[in-house]
Symmetry: D4
Subunit: 233 residues, 8 copies
Amino acid sequence: MTNEDRGLNLDLDRRRRLGMVEAVWGADKTVDQIVAAARRLCAAGETLLVTRVDEAKARAVLQQLPALRYHPQAQCITMGKGMTGGPWQCLALLTGGSSDLPVAAEASVALACHGVEAELIADVGVAGLHRLMARLDHLARFPVLIVCAGMEGSLPTVVAGLLPQPVIAVPVSVGYGVGAGGHAACMGMLASCAPGLCVVNIDNGYGAAMAALRILRTLPIENTEGQASQAPG
Amino acid sequence: MTNEDRGLNLDLDRRRRLGMVEAVWGADKTVDQIVAAARRLCAAGETLLVTRVDEAKARAVLQQLPALRYHPQAQCITMGKGMTGGPWQCLALLTGGSSDLPVAAEASVALACHGVEAELIADVGVAGLHRLMARLDHLARFPVLIVCAGMEGSLPTVVAGLLPQPVIAVPVSVGYGVGAGGHAACMGMLASCAPGLCVVNIDNGYGAAMAALRILRTLPIENTEGQASQAPG
Amino acid sequence: MTNEDRGLNLDLDRRRRLGMVEAVWGADKTVDQIVAAARRLCAAGETLLVTRVDEAKARAVLQQLPALRYHPQAQCITMGKGMTGGPWQCLALLTGGSSDLPVAAEASVALACHGVEAELIADVGVAGLHRLMARLDHLARFPVLIVCAGMEGSLPTVVAGLLPQPVIAVPVSVGYGVGAGGHAACMGMLASCAPGLCVVNIDNGYGAAMAALRILRTLPIENTEGQASQAPG
Amino acid sequence: MTNEDRGLNLDLDRRRRLGMVEAVWGADKTVDQIVAAARRLCAAGETLLVTRVDEAKARAVLQQLPALRYHPQAQCITMGKGMTGGPWQCLALLTGGSSDLPVAAEASVALACHGVEAELIADVGVAGLHRLMARLDHLARFPVLIVCAGMEGSLPTVVAGLLPQPVIAVPVSVGYGVGAGGHAACMGMLASCAPGLCVVNIDNGYGAAMAALRILRTLPIENTEGQASQAPG
Amino acid sequence: MTNEDRGLNLDLDRRRRLGMVEAVWGADKTVDQIVAAARRLCAAGETLLVTRVDEAKARAVLQQLPALRYHPQAQCITMGKGMTGGPWQCLALLTGGSSDLPVAAEASVALACHGVEAELIADVGVAGLHRLMARLDHLARFPVLIVCAGMEGSLPTVVAGLLPQPVIAVPVSVGYGVGAGGHAACMGMLASCAPGLCVVNIDNGYGAAMAALRILRTLPIENTEGQASQAPG
Amino acid sequence: MTNEDRGLNLDLDRRRRLGMVEAVWGADKTVDQIVAAARRLCAAGETLLVTRVDEAKARAVLQQLPALRYHPQAQCITMGKGMTGGPWQCLALLTGGSSDLPVAAEASVALACHGVEAELIADVGVAGLHRLMARLDHLARFPVLIVCAGMEGSLPTVVAGLLPQPVIAVPVSVGYGVGAGGHAACMGMLASCAPGLCVVNIDNGYGAAMAALRILRTLPIENTEGQASQAPG
Amino acid sequence: MTNEDRGLNLDLDRRRRLGMVEAVWGADKTVDQIVAAARRLCAAGETLLVTRVDEAKARAVLQQLPALRYHPQAQCITMGKGMTGGPWQCLALLTGGSSDLPVAAEASVALACHGVEAELIADVGVAGLHRLMARLDHLARFPVLIVCAGMEGSLPTVVAGLLPQPVIAVPVSVGYGVGAGGHAACMGMLASCAPGLCVVNIDNGYGAAMAALRILRTLPIENTEGQASQAPG
Amino acid sequence: MTNEDRGLNLDLDRRRRLGMVEAVWGADKTVDQIVAAARRLCAAGETLLVTRVDEAKARAVLQQLPALRYHPQAQCITMGKGMTGGPWQCLALLTGGSSDLPVAAEASVALACHGVEAELIADVGVAGLHRLMARLDHLARFPVLIVCAGMEGSLPTVVAGLLPQPVIAVPVSVGYGVGAGGHAACMGMLASCAPGLCVVNIDNGYGAAMAALRILRTLPIENTEGQASQAPG
């Protein structure tokens, strides 16, 4: 066994422990590392999610393993059928602008790997507040809301002030100047005056999906999409 | 109506909209502002939670309104019986060290205002990992985990890597040097390699409680404390 | 002439050049420096505004110069009748919470020194959005809006997305953790997705007032408050 | 309707609400997204402004929609004749150095879309103060001044100390070391000792233009370029 | 010899090596440490400068050593007659506002310890530029200029753009919000567009004095105060 | 068992696992928490080290437990005889200035609790480099060097460039302006060009001591100071 | 001798002084500078380590000096046989994920140049804690542990809480958002609650290796991996 | 006259006012802007210095104006013979490592434009302190020292502690991790414990040269290179 092999020590126990498929952070991995991970997980009968894979790297990976599937907007590679045992409810995935779509897509792919559907409600940022207000009744039907926003990142605060469900805020690295890198959005979401807003790392669509999954797993299975199992008292 | 009166425009609709009692951020309010808020909410038949009230200010408030109750460790004032409609489940409230207790206490008081009980599991930080490992089976029974930690803030990451429930991480402003103000803990929790960790602002025990409440509200009411309604598949 | 005297070199030309009364930043001045400034300006027939004077320092100043007036909430000292030549219009002064009142009060006193009235509309933060929505028609009548907010500072963004007037955003140092010192609010206001939002320094009520004054000065005098317009006395 | 379509939810109401044409942040949009936005706005009889479009992306967009116009220095795409209802006055657009010209050009294009002309007065930075002093009388005739500066960003402070009009400061990301990214300029403009200076985000020429537009809209229409309607008292 | 004694290891060689008297940073020293340092230097026939000593600590030190002298505005203690070998020229010490005087005073006392006189020209900040312009001819006569400024710190940039001498910029911790602690001033001075501006640490009046001393030492001794020995070509 | 009791969950296993006495971070603990910790450890036959205890709190603790010992310069409380099994070698503890002594004292007390002696070599900062150069031969005899420095923190870099032993750098929060809080020193030590310099948190004298202890434990115990020896089991 | 030559002033004395081979920071050097350094060291009979050399630059260097060896994962060039006098013990080199391998490889190559072998134990991050726990007995046998981790960087804290040896923590620039550049990991390692953790700069595999070498040099040389041994002269 | 022309408003008065040639910051200028500036200055009989011009841009400029000269290491373009009126003394230009050479070269070219020669003493960083100590006597002969250093930037502190002349510190953006961008070096130089160290912006070789020129201009002309005109008393 070479040092190169030792570099990959996949957490094959994750599905049993956390109920999640093994996910690989692709940004700092070589094509060879990703291919090796896919082969090992495949051999173990596992599914796979690789995030942050740009198009060139994905092409090189799929050349060796054509059975994998690449999702270009989400920059993700998936393998296998994902987890079953669901379906749980559908959740809502909001974005402030269309520039936030890649992050929302990463969340959507990650949820799909676990048998959860996400309804995308994009471009409802607070600069044109009527777009959100017109959808409040529709939004009230989802058990969990993931809200992605860049720039100053006000959208999750406004949503969490209007609706009682769990709201997972995802700061997005869309912005410039003091808003560059999503840091203003991230700070604003953490400092939010809305009670009970939860935040994940900038651009962390995958993390928001897994946080939502942890919540959905606590809910009873139901038949109808978008009906909250338990309304606030 | 004077300018002074206009300064207080309480959100009496919050209970209906979000299922939460009105909460007042006490740190930047005068004794008169807090007393006025309490009187108005009392007149409206509402309950009240005031956070971040130091002992001197609390004494001055209670001198005028002896029916209020002060919680010294949590630095909170409460009024009335809190919300009914529960009880929902008990959740677990972990801290890395005993210095994190004030933040945990704020969360605990805020949950109690909404009829939710929190079991405190303190001083289980990763510097002595056996303290956490010995409690894993016990922790597995709670539907939601709130984890408070200062310094480098590793505890929520370790917990979220071992257990499948929703984990709400609270960075605590215990530390010095590069860890001063809880910023290292906050950054570490956001940057966590554990999938699906949610973060609230530094020292935001109240926010963590409300985030947990949003989750618990989606669950079916049950009888036994500490039994998850729905295990991961 | 001693060095101590040289330390004070007041800009007696400011009224002619900018149409503003001399304003003194009181936070880093001694009682003696403030008294000397007041005496010199009084001798020159000028009015005076001293900002950031805490109660103890103000008492010591007024003991020597009882004709001055102290505004405790605004932490300002004023002298004389302010500028005439007006009246211009009234503007609206919004705050997200009652903790923002001291900053709004500083703006209000500074405007009053220049013959401008400010209508305070406090505690309309986005966590309870209905409070703002109910006042939109009223707000539409003012030529300029000053909006003060702490925490994540979303309010100016939401206001500027709904209304077409000049909006001057004032971040307020109300907050904790990542929101401490008003920095998250300041970054969020600068990074705002609302078009044409202007920002002044954190807690800079005086600056917001002078920015509003610069705008109001360009307007024709009018008769009715809040219409393309003529200001009150 | 696909998810891809949902990604674009243009604010067609903006012109009615704020008197501004829909503006699209082009930096994080694909060619397809920009083309789709242009088509939809065109169909709605709207005009369009797309900012932050580099030359390659602009070429790809114009290949599909040759009626659009690209402004290379401003990195903007415009469509249609812009808003009418004017002309309001001309305003002055100052820059500290010739490196600030792209930001000034973005402001200029955005103003032109709304029927406002901007007179460019470039390269008058404080390192050669005589260049500014020689133009003071000329500058005094404009109702609003937009001042762009990088490095330490002193120019808006000096201008606002000399002239009574509204001054909108635009920090520019020209600089290196501690001045990299325009952060030193931005902090300096916010911390300015000049009373009533307003600041927008770094490089935000579009925002400065919209802030100026909000002010100009409050002014009566007049015939002569550059004559302030109302002098300070 | 105890550990306590070892804690003080004064640089008695500094005068020979650098031509400067031993200076002690008083802020983090106890009364006993300062007294011990003074005694040892006195025994060695040296002079002494202690900076950053607040009034209470100074009183306690002088009670034990009444021959020392306290300078309250400069917060310095001095001992002995200072260095001889001069006098070199007088230099000019400018401040933007009267709040900068304590920093200027520290520089002034430090220079006096080395036989150099400083002419204070206070309160000539750029918000009222005429105050500086009226003194340009006078300033042109000094061989070195020390310029102290807080807030946005533009003054040294403007001075260095107008005058050819060495300019030492001292950022001052006067300010609030983004200008708090003097950081905006410091960044602005470093990022300055004026060629050849030198910067010392925030509030470092002592350091500016020593930098000036290093320059003055390279000049030929002369008789008349304020006449540059060598004009630019 | 009350919540208050649960707050303290001491790591009684630390001595067996790491060979270190239980250390309590005293800064955020109440007098009651410290007393309870001391009682429990005493009952378990353990020793105790409490760091960051100011004089007032220490007095209150010792009033209840007079057998404890307070070290005022180090701000530490100790109990019992410390660990035996030593003595190992003496190590050298350098400081740049006498202001760094409290941090060095914390390291010294922590080492003494584990039977290790530290020789203090204070005030050898690089501003007077001859003080260090004169001690190089002496320093060469110690197996480990702990080097404390504030301001720009150059001393550990210079030491590690001259001597081959393990060097543990401790940034000290002595400084002001950009050096405030020890951050400049900390960054400088991490960015050091000297090969193999190790850094602990700002002011972390205890951490440096424990890092040194981990190294010394690997060495053979010896009899004479500064010569190789032999470690315990 | 030209200026170009003067640019290179190698520290040929380093081996004698510190027992380390000359190491050249390759990132900011040209091909010519690296070649010149290699030639001069070769002439002096020295060995050489060049770090941070990307593949293209390395190819250009090796074209001129084919006797050099390039290590692609470590991005290092080595020359000669390295130092002899060993072998000392093998140490353990842990990584949190496979993305940390390049940093670990730099450490490994640097140690190999000094005759020290490093056993790589990769991908044992805390998100799957069982991977570490299963190796504790094996890890206990190494005299020094180097632990590389990105993201939140918890691994060194957990390791140092479980094992008594010297632990050198290396933050790795693997991460995004608030974890970008390794800053969250670096802050977390410095702020660690584990006693005696030492930290080097982000990605500083070379520095960690040299810190380990300083420690290993104090040990007696031995034959069997992981047992106390004896150091060289 | 078009807007494009207005973009260039050269400070033709600079030579008269400050005794410096016009310098153009080339990094954010187009080839056309640089060519236009050169033509205008040439027509005015002026010389020119353009800094921060990469090789490709320089080639394009020189194709149009072959009389200009490009300095590749310094990344500067010069035109004409530079200023006469000298020669003043030679000064010393030190660098910590060979990676700092481009910054030193920028300073060297800028000085040469003003008739001042700089003697380069490169690669004398504190990691190998003997290289500096061996040159102290030689360094003592220069009237001004410019010291460039990256990483932790200790070199200027050590130099200013050993030698009495004016020392201008230039932080260099050589480093990584916490030292990336030269920020650690910059903070360390400002926070320096050495008395009277002056600092310019990161990588600001030009600024250091102009600061030195301001000092040299105050000195009497002399004949021999490297002899200080006036020793400290």
